[in-house]
Symmetry: C2
Subunit: 555 residues, 2 copies
C-alpha cells in the first residue's frame, strides 16, 4: 500500500515562486501589487484598467457527504489543467474561516497536488480580511449598545436587535448569552448571541459589493433591529457606515496567491453557503476576469444551494454569466446516496453507485434549467474501482453527458486535462444563461420556484413567524430582493437524512430574515447552525510549531 503525504507536507515540499513573479505573469501592474510577506499580495484593483471580459467556469457539486467531495481541489486542479493547455487562466476562491481549522481536520485550500500556497498562512490569518470583518461587525454591535446606553435617541427596542456579535471561532458557549449585566455602569441587559464571522451580514455585503464606495452604501442599508414602534433601524440611522467602511478599506482588496503549479489565484471573501450565498467576492471574480481569459471559480455545498445562489444572487449582481459549469461527483458520494453507510464506503458496490446516481441526475437537470450545459468531474479516490467508475461513465454516455475522471489530487493539473478539454468544448458553444426567477415575483413565489424546480418538492409551508416576517418585508418594500435559501446541504429536502433524489415532500420556511445590506431575504428551513462547536478531540490538540516556527499538524 502506498503511503501518501499530508496536504501540509506536500505544500511544504512544493516550490513556491515570489508573488511578484506570479503578479507579473498575471499582467498586474507593479504599483497595484501590495506584498504581504513574500508569497501573498493584496491587489489595488483601482489600478487595473482593463474590462472584465474573461469567461467564468463555475465548479459546483452533487449533494455532499460529511467526507467532502474535493470541490476546491477540482477547482484548483482544473485551473492548472487550463494552464497546461496554454490558456491565460486564473482561479477565484473563497477564503477559509479560521475557527473551524481548530475543530475538524480538513483545510479549505484544495488538497494533494491541487492546492493553493502558502497553505499555512491562507488557513490561518491570511491577510487579515476575516479579522477586519469581525472588527467591523463588532464595532457596529458596540455602537448599537452604546447608543442605547447613552440615551437611546433612536428608540431602539433592545428585545428586537437582530444584529449579533461574531467571532471567527467555533465557540458553542457563545450561541446564546445575556450581555450588559453588572448594573447601570455596564450597559443595559439584553439577550444576545454570537455567530461565526462568515455568517456576518458584513461578509455577504463585502462579497456582493463592487468597490469600497459601494460597500459603504450597502453597509449603510443594513437593518440592525427595530424601534419600539417596530420601524427598522439601519446603520445609516446610527451614522457609522463611514467608520465601518474605513475598517474594511484594505480587506476589500483581493488577495493574490498561487497554486502549486503557479497558476495565479485570487482568494477573497467567504460567506456561509446556507444563511448567505457562499461564493467568493464579486470584486475577486471580476478582477480575475479583467486579467485572464478563463476564470475558474466555485460555489458552496451542492448545486441546489451554492450554484442556485451563484446564478440568482451573485451572477445577477455582478453582471456575469457562467460559460460552463462543472459538477463534482465522487464514487463515495454516489454510494452514500445509493444507501451505503459511511463505514462501508471503501467496499466496491456498483449497484449502490447506480442507485445513487439519481442524486447527480437531479443536479444536472437543475443546472440545465439555467441554460448552461453541465460537465461531470468524477473526482477519483483511491478506493474507487474500475467497475464503479465505468458505471458512471456508461450512465453519462447513454445521456450524452460530458464526463471526465479527474485525478488532480494525485497528479495536479495533468489529472484535469481531460476535464478542461470537455469544458472548453462547452465554452466554445453558445450558452443561454438565465436566472431561475425574476426579481419581480412575490417572495413566496420566488421560494416556491426554488423548492419546486431545484429541490423537486411539492409544496412550501410558511410558519406563523415567517408569515409575520413576510408582512414586515412587504410593508418595508423589501420584496424585490432575491431569496437566499438556508437549507441542509446533505439533502434536496430540509431533512439531512433523506439522500438520493427524494420526491413528494414539502419544505417548511421557519423564518424569513431580510438582509437589507446584502440585498437578499434569507429563508430558513430546519435548524441552521450559525455558530459551530468544537468536537471532543479538537484538531488543535495535534497542532504545534516546529523548530523553525512553521506549522505542524495543520491538516
Amino acid at each position: 500500500m502506498t503511503d501518501y503525504l499530508s496536504d501540509l507536507e506536500i505544500a511544504k515540499r512544493s516550490k513556491i515562486r515570489p508573488i511578484s513573479s506570479i503578479a507579473e505573469e498575471a499582467g498586474i501592474p507593479v504599483g497595484a501589487v501590495e506584498p504581504y510577506g513574500f508569497y501573498k499580495a493584496k491587489i489595488d484593483t483601482t489600478k487595473i484598467k482593463s474590462q472584465p471580459t474573461g469567461k467564468v467556469v463555475l465548479v459546483t457539486a452533487m449533494s455532499p457527504t460529511p467526507a467532502g467531495e474535493g470541490k476546491s481541489t477540482v477547482t484548483v486542479g482544473l485551473s492548472d489543467a487550463f494552464r497546461q493547455l496554454g490558456d491565460n487562466v486564473m482561479v477565484a476562491l473563497r477564503e477559509p474561516s479560521l475557527g473551524p481549522v481548530f475543530g475538524m481536520k480538513g483545510g479549505a485550500t484544495g488538497g494533494g497536488y491541487a492546492q493553493v500556497l502558502p497553505m499555512e498562512e491562507i488557513n490561518l490569518h491570511f491577510n487579515g480580511d476575516l479579522h477586519a470583518i469581525t472588527t467591523a461587525n463588532n464595532a457596529l454591535a458596540a455602537f448599537i449598545d452604546n447608543h442605547i446606553y447613552q440615551g437611546n435617541a433612536l428608540n431602539i427596542d433592545p428585545r428586537r436587535i437582530s444584529w449579533k456579535r461574531v467571532l471567527d471561532m467555533n465557540d458553542r458557549a457563545l450561541r446564546e448569552v445575556v450581555i450588559g449585566l453588572g448594573g447601570p455602569f455596564k450597559g443595559v441587559p439584553r439577550e444576545d448571541g454570537f455567530d461565526i464571522t462568515v455568517a456576518s451580514e458584513i461578509m455577504a455585503v463585502f462579497c456582493l459589493s463592487r468597490d469600497i464606495h459601494d460597500l459603504k452604501e450597502n453597509i449603510a442599508k443594513m437593518t440592525i433591529g427595530y424601534t419600539y414602534d417596530k420601524q427598522p433601524v439601519t446603520v445609516k440611522d446610527l451614522g457609522v457606515e463611514g467608520a465601518l467602511a474605513l475598517i474594511l478599506k484594505d480587506a476589500i482588496k483581493p488577495n493574490l496567491v498561487q497554486t502549486i503549479e503557479g497558476t495565479p489565484a485570487l482568494i477573497h471573501g467567504g460567506p456561509f453557503a446556507n444563511i448567505a450565498h457562499g461564493c467568493n467576492s464579486i470584486i475577486a471574480t471580476n478582477t480575475a476576469r479583467r486579467l485572464a481569459d478563463v476564470v475558474v471559480t466555485e460555489s458552496g455545498f451542492g448545486s441546489d444551494l451554492g450554484a442556485e445562489k451563484f446564478m440568482d444572487i451573485k451572477a445577477r449582481r455582478a453582471g456575469l454569466e457562467p460559460a460552463a459549469i462543472v459538477v463534482v461527483a465522487t464514487i463515495r458520494a454516489l454510494k452514500m446516496h445509493g444507501g451505503v453507510l459511511k463505514e462501508q464506503l471503501k467496499a466496491e458496490d456498483v449497484e449502490a453507485v447506480k442507485r445513487g446516481i439519481v442524486n447527480l441526475e437531479k443536479h444536472l437537470q437543475n443546472l440545465q434549467q439555467f441554460g448552461v450545459e453541465p460537465v461531470v468531474a468524477l473526482n477519483a479516490f483511491v478506493t474507487d474501482t474500475a467497475e464503479e467508475v465505468q458505471a458512471v461513465k456508461d450512465w453519462c454516455a447513454d445521456r450524452s453527458i460530458k464526463i471526465a475522471l479527474t485525478e488532480v489530487w494525485e497528479k495536479g493539473g495533468a489529472g484535469g486535462v481531460e476535464l478542461a478539454r470537455l469544458v472548453k468544448e462547452v465554452m466554445a458553444d453558445k450558452q443561454d444563461f438565465r436566472p431561475l426567477y425574476e426579481l419581480e415575483l412575490p417572495v413566496e413565489e420566488k421560494i416556491r420556484t426554488v423548492v419546486q424546480k431545484i429541490y423537486g418538492g411539492d409544496n412550501v409551508v410558511f410558519s406563523d413567524s415567517a408569515k409575520k416576517q413576510l408582512k414586515t418585508i412587504i410593508d418595508n418594500g423589501w420584496d424585490h430582493y432575491p431569496v437566499c435559501m438556508a437549507k441542509t446541504q446533505y439533502s434536496f429536502t430540509d431533512d439531512p437524512k433523506k439522500l438520493g433524489r427524494p420526491t413528494g415532500f414539502e419544505i417548511t420556511i421557519r423564518e424569513l430574515i431580510p438582509k437589507t445590506g446584502a440585498g437578499f431575504i434569507v429563508a430558513l428551513t430546519g435548524d441552521i447552525m450559525t455558530m459551530p462547536g468544537l468536537p471532543k478531540q479538537p484538531a488543535a490538540l495535534n497542532m504545534d510549531i516546529d523548530a523553525d516556527g512553521h506549522a505542524v499538524g495543520l491538516f
Copy 2:
C-alpha cells in the same frame, strides 16, 4: 492665530520611503524583511545574527492628565533628533489598540511632525498582531468551555475560571455576561466577561517572551482557572499551547515602520499599563539593540507605573539596563498638579506651575532610586508662556537637573536636539542601574517597597480576598514573581483625584491575581477597568473614507 494641520493631514503630506529602503539603512538582511504593503514589514529576527549591544533610552513621564503629555511624540522626536546628530538610532514603540480609536480622538503614533508612518494603517489593523492575540485568547476560551461541555475530565470548576474572552473594541456591554445559555446543546451556563485585547495575559506573555518557543512555554504555564478541589488548571493541562503558539507565529515578528524623518521604528506589542506592564515587546527592544547603537523606547503612564514596571519586570527579564531616562513634563500637567482646573489650563499661572512641580520632583527622585540620572523633557504646547517655562528651568537649575524644552510636535527632530545632547551626556556617564527590589522578597514586601519608595505612601492594607489569594500564591510557589501594580495613573495614591505629591496615605490591595504565564502577580488597587466603554459621541461618527479609499477623520 496659526491654523494647525491635523496629525492625519501632516501624515498624509509627509514623504514616505519604501520600507525596503528603511530596512536597508537599518542594516536588516533582505531575507529577514517580510513586506506588508509598501511601507510596513515584519522582521524575521532569526535571520539577524548580531548581538544586542545598543544602549536603551527610556522615555517616561510625570503623572499624566486626561489631556495627554505627548510621551510617544517625545519618544519619536527624540529618536529623530539622535538621527540628526548622526547617531545610528532606532525607536521601539507599543502598537496601538484598535478599539479605543473609535471612541476618543487621539492616536498612539506620536503627533505633529514627530509621528510614525503610515499612521492610518498603524492605528487600524497594522500587521494583524492584535487580531492574532485576540484569536489565540478566544481559542483558549473556546477550548476551555468545550472541555467542560465534553465531559470535563480535568474537573474544572466553571465558577472559578479566571480566563476571560477579549475583543479589541470598547464594548461596555460585554463587561459582565452569562454564556452557555439555550439548553444542553449550547454549553454549560456560567458567568463570564470580556476584556479589551491589550488586557489579555497573552499580550503580556507575548511582550515578555524571547522568541516563539519561549512564548509557547510561557503560554503553557498560564493558569486558566481552578478545579473543584481548588487546584490550578494550566494551558498545558488542556494541551493546546502548540495551537496557540501556531496562531501567533507571524505576530511574534516585530513590525518595521518609519518616522516622518525616516528613522527606523519597531512597533510591537502593547499590553495595558495597569493590569500588565505596559511596554513594547522584549523582542522588539532587543532586535533594535542588535541593529542600532541607540534605542529610544517608552513605558506606559507615569514613571510610578510604567517606568517602575519597565525596570522591575521588563528590564530584568530582557537582561537590559537603561542608559538614560527621559521624564516628559508639560506646563499644563504641572498646572493641574498645582490645583488648576482642566478648563482653565490655557491661562498663564506661574505660581500653579511652581506648586505642581512637586509631582515632577517625586518622579525624578524615584528614578534616581533605580541608579539612573533622569533628564526632564519639557514638552512645549502653544499655550505655554515664557515665564511658566522659565519657572521650571530655574527649579531644575537650582537642583542641577538636566532639562530641555522639546518642540518636536512642531519641528520634528530639530525640536529635540537639545534634549538628545543632554541624554548623550548621561549615556556617556557610568550609570548604576538596579531594580527596586529583589525577587526573593515576600510578595507583601515587594508591594510595600513599591508603595513606600515609589508612591510615597505610609502603609499597605490587604483586603480579605487579597489575603486569601496570597495564600494560594504561596501554596502554589508563585511568590518569586515580581509584582505588577494596577493603580490609577493620575495620582501616586489609589485615588485619581489626589494630584501633586500626596503624603500620609495608605494603599489598599483589593485583589492579587497570579499571571503564571506572564510571570508576575497583579496587585489591584481601586477599580481598574479592563473593558472601556464608548463616549456619547464616538469618534467613529466623524470617520469616513475619501474618494481614493483613504481615511478621513482618523485624528
